[in-house]
């Protein structure tokens, strides 16, 4: 018989309890099982009422983020055996309202993300017949790291500023803004600055650095934010010293 491990799962059933509770499930401990496999075992064999999000099982979709033993993790990339002998505490992502059990409400992030205009902005739309916008591998390297973000929101869960300051844009949105600012084909850096260089933008960040620790894709949002602080500060200085210079 396989070893067993206990999952302590946060349950929240708003139709019958005002506060979340914890429920324990004993599941088989297989070498190849991720925490998500354990939750699927619970759902399929022990308790069909448990609610949680998941999709791809391979660290691409960013749906299965949860708090595992206090840390924000993708449950598809977090293995049960690393927590042997257990128990493993599984809670919803922090800094988001909880709809049910492990399912959080992500509207806050979805409203903030488009504010930074995370798409290529061109001064003038060129006709398709004008040809492609070419890039060298060095141009690609400038922003590629930031383009790896899968919007899993682990960084929002890790960041205490997101929890304390409701308006703070948050790590992923700023990293994605940098993904476009540093793209040689983009011409929208000035438009984004109005949103980024504000108290709710980069200046809200106090460099705790936990977003980078939590990121499963090595995006380094904390680095992106600090880099942008340098850019924004240099730009303010330049506009102060050279006010006649065009923006």
């Amino acid at each position: 018989m396989a070893d067993q491990i206990i999952l302590q799962v946060t349950r929240y059933r708003p139709e019958r309890e005002p506060e979340p509770t914890t429920q324990e499930y004993e599941i088989p401990l297989h070498e190849e099982w991720a925490v998500l496999d354990g939750l699927n075992h619970v759902k399929d064999h022990l308790d069909g009422t448990l609610s949680y999000r998941w999709s791809c099982r391979m660290g691409i979709c960013g749906s299965c983020g949860m708090t595992v033993n206090g840390d924000p993790r993708l449950t598809c990339a977090t293995f049960l055996t690393d927590y042997r002998p257990g128990p493993i505490r599984i809670e919803p992502l922090r800094n988001f309202p909880v709809i049910r059990d492990l399912v959080v409400e992500i509207g806050d992030f979805m409203r903030k993300l488009p504010k930074v205009k995370p798409w290529l902005i061109r001064a003038e739309d060129a006709a398709a017949t004008d040809g492609e916008l070419l890039q060298t591998p060095a141009d690609l390297d400038e922003y590629k790291q930031y383009s790896m973000c899968i919007n899993c929101m682990l960084c929002y869960s890790a960041c205490p500023i997101v929890g304390l300051e409701e308006g703070f844009l948050g790590p992923a949105a700023i990293a994605l803004a940098q993904r476009y600012n540093l793209d040689s084909r983009d011409q929208g850096a000035h438009e984004r600055m109005d949103v980024l260089s504000t108290a709710d933008g980069v200046w809200g960040c106090t460099f705790v650095g936990e977003c980078t620790t939590a990121c499963p894709k090595d995006v380094d949002p904390a680095g992106a934010i600090q880099r942008y602080k340098l850019t924004a500060a240099a730009e303010s200085l330049r506009s102060f010293l050279l006010p006649w210079r065009p923006a």
Binding site: P14, P20, I99, E210, K229
Partner: protein, 135 residues
């Protein structure tokens, strides 16, 4: 069914950040201590300005400042301030490479080189200050 809940207006649970949110995690604690250390950085600046002011006012004022500085309470405060200053400097130097992306001859300068340059600068300036004061 709970009266406060309807199928169409689900009652979301909104956990509040506890007041001591920073106490339960080492990285949060280090962050809060680093923020707190700024108070001691500010105190050090004030202390230095008081010294400069005393020197500019002549011998008597300077002697008064020295007497104040040798007060055990002032000594204790400055020893604590020094500890926080060192902590402040080390934690910031270690974070510096994350904020500074420097390219030299088309290649990104490694993180260790940026941290090393900060420590080297610190050592150089400290040596210069020691030479000025003790030399």
């Amino acid at each position: 069914m709970n009266a406060r809940y309807t199928e169409f207006h689900p009652r979301w649970h909104r956990p509040r950040m506890p007041v001591f949110w920073w106490a339960g995690r080492r990285s949060y604690l280090i962050f809060v201590i680093r923020e707190l250390s700024s108070v001691f950085v500010a105190w050090s600046v004030v202390f230095l300005l008081l010294l400069v002011h005393a020197v500019s006012q002549g011998g008597t004022q300077y002697q008064q400042f020295l007497n104040l500085s040798s007060n055990p309470w002032m000594l204790a405060l400055n020893v604590i301030a020094l500890a926080f200053l060192v902590f402040h400097a080390i934690t910031w130097f270690n974070l510096a490479p994350q904020a500074m992306v420097v390219h030299l001859r088309g290649r990104r300068v490694p993180r260790s080189a940026i941290t090393g340059a900060h420590y080297a600068g610190w050592a150089l300036l400290s040596a210069l200050a020691a030479w000025l004061i003790l030399g």
